[in-house]
Symmetry: D4
Subunit: 251 residues, 8 copies
């Protein structure tokens, strides 16, 4: 709440147009709802048409169902990440738009199909094993109201594959770049196009990959200016960040 | 180079409007210049008014001078990062716009003062020791043609200081958030505003900070959606990425 | 044993009021009991009404049962941590107060329900996935004779949820603060209230969380003065430490 | 600010006893002062007689002087940590109570010598090389209004030295335990006395100490229940936490 | 070289068909036997009555059986480490002395029960969870011809338990000290007795134990002079080293 | 594509011998084929008789089958690494040369049995547990057209076993040296023979091996000049690199 | 064994005072010379014309001088790595071919200028800061009798610079690829040419580079088949390995 | 103190042969002396003729002098480790036997030159840069009353140098084995001789040595049975442990 807003509330109280109790209510800052096992924040989606999001892994399926059920009441788009087929069976009847994205385990409920982002978000990945993370980014950006396009299996060891598809990079407004192993792809991509590139290291690899540490460090040390990085395997975070930027572009 | 561009070149060859040698020249892709000890890439600034950048630390001062001298011939803005007062003495006479940014060691040469970015980039930092990194981000975003504003010393242990200044966050289009120690500031800021937040961990701290590892891991694991992260102490990278996003917004 | 106590024993020997054998017995320092596979220390609970504690994970269920059986003979409260439903079935008939705390796997036997701590211990946690660790802290502080209160799912990315519940923090005498991911919650909480805050990092998260390393380092580097930290996922340790402080406060 | 306090402010506005501007001022939460290069938080010391604290290392001496000068105007106790003789020369004339604590580099200014804590805080350290960190804890607890006592050079390899001094441990209300190398001292101390023990790992050692990582991990994994830990070399943090607990005890 | 080949060489010497020098030449390269999937080294046991050893974990049970079968032909003692009940069923009929040591998974075959070491090797461990590693050390030292004695569950958090049993430490010639968690026990033990102490860190613990890294670093940084350390969970290595020292003592 | 090749294409266009479309096609650099879930690169095998390679672990068996099926159409040798018996059942009927290499999980299809490398590649390994990685190197070098020879179980703790087999090392042209635990074997081997030695650390070991980190660091720090290293457990990479060197030697 | 001793043995053979077999026996252990503070191994250079090498850093300059002086007596090429201008002043008069390679600190003495390697070794580096390491590789390969060529400042963020120089890569027989930061260059290079590529990570970078850990892990996890890696900053090792391969090629 | 000893003291009290005060004195366990800045433990040297030891690095030279001065009063041997020439100048006049060991910085004062150990301790090191650590081990074992012998510069890359000196290894009773870089020497040595081998990793090396982590991990994972390890660069610890074993052997 800004000082201006507080001033307005206070003036209404002074003028008798708002009771002390009513003012108190408004000053309790931002809306959230308490389910006992979780506090749902309806605020974000209220403002920007953003979906409500549940991270399913490690959560009790009954809790996930309860949270989704409550979210759907507000007719927001809902995104469940890191779910599985079993969870989908449990929630698919909650709404007719329920959809299971098998490659990354995401489940979506989509009331609102409006495109809000101005440009296209292209999700590039280095190898076929990186696809689950790339898909999570794609599904996230999609349900947040963006045009999206995949460009998969274009790792740097065969640089011609990437160069052969560079037209797709040129058409992007924002690029999400997913890579495991040495994580070099984002550096090359960011060197080819002068656009925001969000890098996602994956845990794909073995041995000295140390579960994604190798590509994470590689991306953080990129010699390409302006690259930004999210957590290992965090396709959702990259999709979300790209959507924020694209939303900005379209204002 | 896109297939369309290659086609155009080939058609000119076919029609005899371009010699084979001339076509070869064009197909050698992107322009750079070889100084012997460095290959300068004039391409980026040609396209977007972006500055040419030299990372001075660890480089021979004579080489830095040589590179800057050559860059200035193209009348681009030039940004030298991680320099010092001694280096500034050496290069200050190369151009009348030379300026030393003492807090972060940057040196700038500025021919072009046009504002290109649409919105304001706010650089927030947690403690006074984080200011050098914050300044590097600020100077970078500034010379790349953005309106910038600092908001310093608003760490999370005194959350009221941050909330008291939240108006400044609201006015930002993009936020750069610089923090050492536990690196919690970006999570809180990204929870307050629904805008792109670029997090910069710093090596400020001691003991289990392990030279910035602590805030780096913290920022990568942020519970706030959509945060992106750059390397430890990499103010330049954050300023550059924010400029790319702001440039995008203004297209 | 203090020199004063030794002196007293020696004087009794000198005066013939205590045999050499009896004195030797007393000088064998502190009481413990040898079950062959474990040495039970009855000392602590003898002094302060503290429970006897068994860490069940990795132990042979028969051994756990044997230890609990022996402990119950002394009519102390008994706390078994990191157990499971199967272990509970095995020991539930040992005493009618047996109770299984499903969320964290603890099993309690409670003869003594006296409240010993002066104030209330509030256990705060950042996300729903942190609840098992928070519950372990809560159950521990509870069986050690404290008034306890949970305040869950108030992570820093939605700072308003935390601020909206700050009244509960104000009422606490000691706060246990449980968080995974970036582990920023304790810094914010310790900045809001001037009371002892014990931080518990959890292994909740993935990728660069490195099984809880990220929040652990974050908490150790907190910019909030006076925060202390326990091991990753160590809800028991936090509950125990908070009880010690609360016991102190009530002397 | 609690809802009760907000209600009170609102009622005064309603009754015309407080102007909108005045109410706004009160609702701007907590007081801090902006020096340009730093925001000083006068809040904590206002409430509890706690000192204002400056971490000097890495700060411009002129800035430290400016901050201290402003703090002294409020007649609070001031604690400067990680300073040196040169800094002391610069600030010693700011107030007649200025004192340099050579062993740990702390500088104190002490208007208020009231003892607020109920019991005694004993600072134990393992080896002579750990003394600088132990002293920082001691000086901090001292200026925060506690009775303090050092017990140095009682490492576990000569357990008799520690047992020979156990009387001092018995007299403590809270124990701060400082150790480098393997960091085993806190486990033994916490096993001897049933009181809050705050462990401070130090960077004393070489080789596989990895700058204090070894004792830090050791203390976090202590088999002694209820031990809490602060950052490597963070004597200040331990002294502060112990003071908070002692203040609590004396309420 | 197989034993059969050695025999043949010796027979030729006996019959005067090979000179002593020539035989020496042939015997110069030490004997080992090639089973195809493994080369067995019969040399060590030939010299000192040491057992032949097989590390079973990760090996094909059929291969382990084959190796053991061949070793038994030489009537040496055989020690199989890290086996399990299933493997024992497979090999128990190979020789009537077969014995399964359930606590640590070792399997022994013992032809030779001679005591070779002069003094007693005492194996101390900190907690009941460390017993498997301690048993591996005990079984190893036992089959290598030493008098051995266990002293378990005497961790440093209850230092009185250790002091109460110090008589056992005094009677030892060499001490093996096994501990997980913070790994402080060896430092205390080595401070109590002036004898060789071999420290074994275990992977017992969780969180910041990082699978035994914490006690390993602790032991390497011990403030007690003369402690030596083996790999995490390497009870066998400690038992072997202690036997070598005891064998030396008895020469 | 070299400038010379581009020139040739351009000249054909100029002379009307090649259409613009045809030239464009040629300038699209290097051939690859898009299966949707993967882009197959036929380039390498086209040039050097090298096999096409699929890394099976973590891939959908149906995708592996699809890729292999397509590769076989080109009548290249095909190498599937990190497969298992189940995958072999699925693909064994795709071609009559299908062969399952049980020790390392590789599957090969071999149309071309020509020996291309000039000398012999010897694969040395330290212990029996390192054999799976050694076999992967052996199978790779074999299918790439080299004479290969294994020399297993010759670890440095029994240096006589290695010296006894040194004749085999002398006959090698290139040596691949596989070792887990301390990873010392390559240093000793590279000290014995003045030939290229490629070191492969394995994850064999436990405790402070940290999944192969120990031998990896050991090999990188070898005191033997000229040793080069590949990733932990990367037998394929070593076999491939050795083949490249041997191919070079035979040119 | 000193050369003098070898001579004596040979003379005895000549004079019939020692049998060939006896001489062989004496010569079996390879020759080295004992200077007291070092044992010089003249063997390698005897066989292949390889230089004798001294690693100067951390050594007493007087010792380095003594070692070089003795080596020069054998008229071998001598390579001193990691020296400095001061050391060069000390040894420059030892032989007229003394040369100081300022960029990497190497000092060479060159009696023998014969080219032994068949092909050209190209040393590629990513940035100007990587040049010292690249030069060490170049100087090493040069004095070991190879044709060498540098190709510097062709990092992956400007992939066109690398592609523009690909002709030089095509002409190489072996490529040494030096890169700091994310270390992606070797992957791209190895994807462009089907030749042995030896990757050298450098400690160039800051923050999450962790002194070269980032490029080291990146190179070990390269998606390009057949890449091999040497230690961080180990230009010498790469030059040596490349020479061994080139020597092989020329046999 | 054993129960027997306590019994004896108690009986004397009972019989009036010992006063309560006198008994108390005896029961205060072990003797140490308090200098204010340090507690000196005279116990060890009282029993076994072991020297008193001061670790000088990081200590105030005046304190070191004070400690040494006090120790010399007891006419024990004194060993100061990690000193330097300046410290030696300060203490050389304290006793005529003062000696500075330049290679490792140790200072010794030697009243007692008796040989107590039965056999010879051989200190082996891999390279000339490891000599300072090896010397610290040698000087320590020497002043503790052992016959010692150095065997330096016999690293594994030239295995013939080690084999050529194996006679010296055979004559040893205990071997201390010092190595940096990959730390492979102890494995080879322990494979050659069936005697106690104490391994000392050194911080010699660069890059992926990570200040001695590489050889430390290598030694802990040695495939040679019975190797024990001390901290990085801890020559003193190895010398001390070897002396304890040798003292045992001579009992």
């Amino acid at each position: 709440m800004t000082p201006e807003e507080i001033t307005r509330v206070l003036q209404q109280v002074r003028r008798g147009k708002l009771s002390v109790g009513g003012a108190l209510e408004r000053l309790r800052i931002l809306p959230y709802e308490d389910l006992g096992y979780a506090k749902i924040d309806h605020h974000r989606s209220l403002r920007q048409g953003f979906p409500e999001v549940v991270f399913a892994r490690g959560k009790d399926p009954a809790h996930v169902e309860g949270i989704v059920r409550r979210m759907l009441l507000n007719r927001h788009n809902v995104l469940v990440t890191r779910g599985d087929a079993e969870l989908f069976e449990r929630v698919r009847n909650l709404h007719k738009t329920a959809k299971f994205h098998k490659l990354c385990g995401a489940i979506t409920f989509r009331h609102d199909r409006k495109i809000r982002g101005k440009g296209k978000i292209v999700v590039v990945c280095a190898g076929t094993s990186d696809i689950p993370v790339a898909e999570e980014a794609l599904v996230t950006a999609d349900i947040m109201g963006n045009r999206v396009e995949p460009l998969y299996d274009v790792g740097v060891a065969g640089i011609h594959r990437l160069l052969g598809e560079s037209r797709h990079l040129m058409e992007a407004r924002i690029i999400i770049c997913v890579a495991g192993m040495e994580g070099a792809l984002p550096s090359v991509v960011a060197g080819l196009v002068e656009k925001p590139v969000i890098a996602v290291p994956t845990s794909v690899g073995y041995g000295a990959s140390f579960s994604g540490l190798a590509p994470l460090l590689g991306m953080l040390n990129s010699c390409a200016s302006g690259l930004t990085v999210v957590n290992i395997d965090n396709g959702f975070g990259a999709g979300y960040a790209a959507s924020q930027i694209n939303a900005l572009a379209s204002e």
